[in-house]
């Protein structure tokens, strides 16, 4: 009986140690479907070692071509911020960023606006650092070229999850999908 107990404790300890090591190597960044790199392979081999079966490829991506950094950065932020929104909702989010770039009260470049500390959740939580979706790339290009479903909005938020009370005082000028848009 005592022997059995001892074996159980030892095996638990080993699992514990293994987990600690496992956590420490994968701590570096969050992994999603579509992400690739040495850490992904490491996780895959570890999962395999632990007896999990994994799909043939976690990574599945196609290519695209854009003619400007702005479109690429914009498509990534649209992907992170408006995944699951309709196409017009994605163009609208892109248009807000383009409107900010043109507005004197915001930074003058797409990068400046997107990476303003705390301005976008997708940048803070790392969603931005994933490849953009195809529809986000199209939406970004439309937004850069002037398509603006919001009619000049500078802010948007999801009424269900918005945290800042101050933002509600802005005049709302459109509601598209889950977002409200304001000046």
């Amino acid at each position: 009986m005592k022997k059995l107990f001892g074996i159980a404790v030892i095996s638990l300890t080993v699992i514990f140690l293994f987990t600690a090591y496992f956590v420490s190597v994968t701590q570096v960044r969050p992994l999603y479907i579509g992400v690739s790199g040495s850490d992904v392979r490491q996780v895959q081999s570890k999962l395999k070692a632990l007896g999990f079966s994994i799909p043939a490829a976690v990574k599945s991506s196609r290519g695209g071509t854009v003619s400007s950094n702005d479109v690429y950065v914009l498509s990534k932020i649209i992907s992170g911020e408006a995944r699951g929104e309709s196409f017009v909702g994605q163009v609208a989010v892109g248009a807000v960023i383009v409107n900010r770039v043109k507005n004197p009260n915001f930074p003058n470049t797409v990068y400046g606006v997107v990476f303003e500390p705390g301005a976008f959740d997708a940048v803070s939580d790392g969603q931005y650092y994933r490849p953009p979706t195809e529809s986000a790339v199209k939406a970004a290009r439309a937004a850069i070229n002037g398509w603006d479903p919001t009619g000049g909005a500078l802010y948007y938020w999801n009424p269900a999850t918005a945290t800042s009370r101050w933002i509600w005082s802005r005049p709302i000028i459109a509601r598209i999908g889950r977002h409200v848009f304001a000046r």
Binding site: G63, P117, W166
Partner: protein, 454 residues
């Protein structure tokens, strides 16, 4: 014999505990390290900001007391540069949740004014006028307040070891109010002082010209049903059975009905048409589709775009720009009055280069600005202009055009397109005075490939 078992377990657990402790410590250390790095970035941006504002205030005063054109130019150039740097620094600080619009407006006004005055003084014969000095004086008064308030915050940051990462983490409290934080309070106080100043009176030259849409477009409001009919007729053939619905209403710069049609055959994204409430004009439209293999070249697409515009009553449009990507071409056209190109009134048409279908239209500027204007004629002749153009520029075309400056003021200009080496430029010369209004680089940006998630 079995006694050693009682020692093995605690032994292993002790090792495990030590390992975990070590791991935890390195994690903590790494986190602390990152936080310090973020903090030092913020500190740098903040102290630089306060230094730039101080320099701006000083240079504004210096420009006021200078009596030579050369000194004025130097002062204005410094201000312009320092404003740019200050804006960068402000954008790098975690203040996105703190309303600072007046402070930001002050910076952009100062930048715009200094740049415009710099341009004029550099090209003109005289230095700053009495009116200019009055504008600079107003800017100086505000810069002085900013400088003092920022210096106060700066001394608190230094003296009380205030943390910017703390601002970042706890700027917004659980109840949505801004946190009670010395740094945030300092910035809010500064903003309040800026608000108390009356609106800057920058004179006619620097006051934005707003288009009077109602004057151009009349006052007849349409209702939702009319809007749907107009959208249907505009995008689809008359016998089409697509059922439209109002997707959203916009009350922004242009009040509109957003009309949505179900996706066309073999597609899964709806078709959108935005119709103005004022007179039922199509503001923009898009029919997103999956573009197949590209079979058409850009000029074939251009022909389709042009005939599309003609079929919607937009005749005599001139192509001024093409942007190719995603198997589509986005063509920018401007209308003409006589032989003068009207740049403020542009429209864009997106053509799929697989079958030539029109998949997008953007006519907001055309809607807001297009009207018959009293343009006059250039006072500088084309022959005179040719002598003035730099000999380094390989001139491709010269034509008269109407452009709008930073403040929306319309200027009759000569448009000169040309290239030097691999760089392409459009230069606009004022057609009345001959001065260079602006030089725009139109070299296409480098293309690159990237992964998309699918």
């Amino acid at each position: 014999m079995r006694k050693w078992v009682y020692w093995v377990l605690p032994g292993i657990l002790t090792v495990a505990l030590l390992a975990t402790g070590y791991w935890g410590y390195t994690e903590y250390y790494a986190r602390q390290n990152l936080q310090n790095r973020a903090e030092s970035q913020y500190q740098k941006s903040f102290h630089e900001l306060s230094w730039h504002i101080d320099t701006i205030a000083g240079q504004l005063a210096q420009t006021l007391i200078s009596s030579s054109k050369e000194q004025a130019i130097l002062g204005l150039a410094t201000i312009w540069r320092q404003v740019f740097a200050a804006q960068e620094d402000l954008g790098a600080l975690p203040l996105a949740f703190v309303p600072l619009s007046k402070t930001e407006k002050f910076l952009s006004d100062t930048g715009d004014v200094s740049y415009a005055l710099l341009n004029r003084t550099a090209q003109g014969q005289t230095g700053l006028t009495e009116k200019d000095l009055k504008t600079i004086e107003q800017l100086y008064q505000r810069a002085k307040v900013l400088r003092e308030d920022l210096a106060k915050v700066a001394s608190q940051v230094l003296d009380q070891e205030l943390s910017w990462t703390q601002v970042e983490v706890s700027a917004v409290q659980a109840n949505g109010e801004l946190a009670d934080n010395t740094i945030i309070d300092g910035f809010q106080l500064m903003e309040k002082k800026m608000e108390e100043y009356p609106e800057l009176n920058l004179g006619d030259d620097f006051t934005p010209v707003k288009p009077d849409v109602k004057k151009i477009r009349g006052n007849r409001d349409i209702n939702a049903t009319e809007a749907q009919k107009i959208a249907q007729k505009w995008w689809f053939p008359p016998d089409d059975k697509h059922q439209a619905r109002i997707s959203y209403e916009g009350v922004g710069d242009i009040p509109t009905f957003g009309i949505e049609f179900p996706p066309v055959e073999n597609e899964n994204v709806p078709v959108y048409v935005d119709v103005s409430k004022l007179d039922g004009t199509i503001i923009w439209a898009m029919k997103p589709k999956t573009v197949g293999n590209v079979t058409l070249d850009l000029s074939a697409g251009e022909r389709n775009a042009k005939s599309f515009l003609q079929s919607h009553g937009l005749n005599d449009m001139v192509l001024v720009e093409v942007d190719q990507g995603d198997g589509t071409g986005i063509y920018t056209f401007v209308p003409r009055q006589g032989d003068i190109l009207l740049y403020p009134d542009q429209v864009k048409v997106q053509v799929a280069l697989d079958n030539g279908e029109i998949i997008g239209y953007e006519g907001t500027p055309y809607y807001m600005y297009h009207k018959k204007r009293d343009l006059g004629s250039p006072r500088i002749s084309e022959a005179q202009l040719r002598k003035q153009v730099s000999s380094f520029l390989n001139v491709e075309l010269i034509r008269p055009a109407l452009i709008a400056n930073t403040w929306g003021k319309e200027i009759l200009a000569w448009e000169v397109r040309g290239s030097i080496d691999t760089e392409k430029f459009v230069i606009f010369y004022n057609a009345l005075t001959g001065s260079e209004e602006s030089i725009v680089r139109i070299t296409p940006p480098p293309k690159f490939d990237f992964n998309i998630e699918g």
